[in-house]
């Protein structure tokens, strides 16, 4: 993550930023980071759910109905599973 900042410094004179600009940029970065994190999760979920749901040979460029439903369920169940793991870990911590 250090490369973007190094390339920024080459190109952009940050000393010209006003206080308002700085606040606005900070908020912008927070939003963009969150967006990037969500996109990252979507990439990894698509990876997982493609393996589970698209098992046949490729016959068209569209998802068929089964595959689409499977992908939707796959996302929901993966997140359920994730919550279950977290809840269980939480229980373990409280017991010890």
């Amino acid at each position: 993550m250090d490369s973007p900042s190094s390339s920024l410094q080459q190109n952009i004179d940050l000393s010209k930023l006003s206080e308002n600009d700085k606040h606005e940029l900070q908020q912008f970065i927070v939003n963009e980071s969150q967006k990037a994190r969500i996109q990252q999760s979507v990439h990894s979920l698509t990876d997982i759910c493609w393996k589970k749901c698209v098992t046949g040979t490729i016959r068209s460029g569209k998802l068929d109905k089964n595959e689409e439903t499977c992908a939707q369920n796959c996302v929901d169940r993966f997140l359920d599973a994730n919550m279950t793991v977290i809840r269980h870990l939480d229980n373990m911590r409280n017991q010890s």
């Binding site: 973007p4 190109n11 963009e32 979920l45 759910c49 016959r59 569209k62 595959e67 977290i86």
Partner: protein, 101 residues
């Protein structure tokens, strides 16, 4: 890898450093996203479309790649919609929760 976006000429206009920073951040994000997608499409579609690599990519394999790519992006969009719905639901149920990943 960040040199690609610089190399493509998305440099900064020094007149407005704020817009320049924003542009650069957006470009970096878009590049990362695109790179990630290409990597995954290639991985999964190679698996599906080229079971036994021959001396060249056949026209059947090429067609398969095109369809597979469209299909992967359709899957990406479906997953994205479902995931975002879920996040919004969870946030509605308990404010403050949210990003687990």
């Amino acid at each position: 890898m960040d040199n690609i976006s610089n190399g493509l000429g998305f440099g900064a206009s020094s007149s407005d450093p704020k817009a320049a920073v924003m542009n650069q951040v957006r470009q970096e994000a878009a590049m990362t996203n695109a790179r990630q997608l290409i990597e995954k499409v290639n991985e999964h579609c190679f698996e599906k479309c080229v079971p036994k690599p021959g001396s060249s990519l056949s026209s059947g394999e090429t067609t398969c790649f095109t369809q597979c790519m469209e299909k992967y992006m359709a899957a990406w969009n479906t997953v994205s919609r479902q995931y975002i719905n879920r996040i919004q639901q969870e946030q509605g149920r308990s404010a403050g929760g949210g990003g687990i990943f």
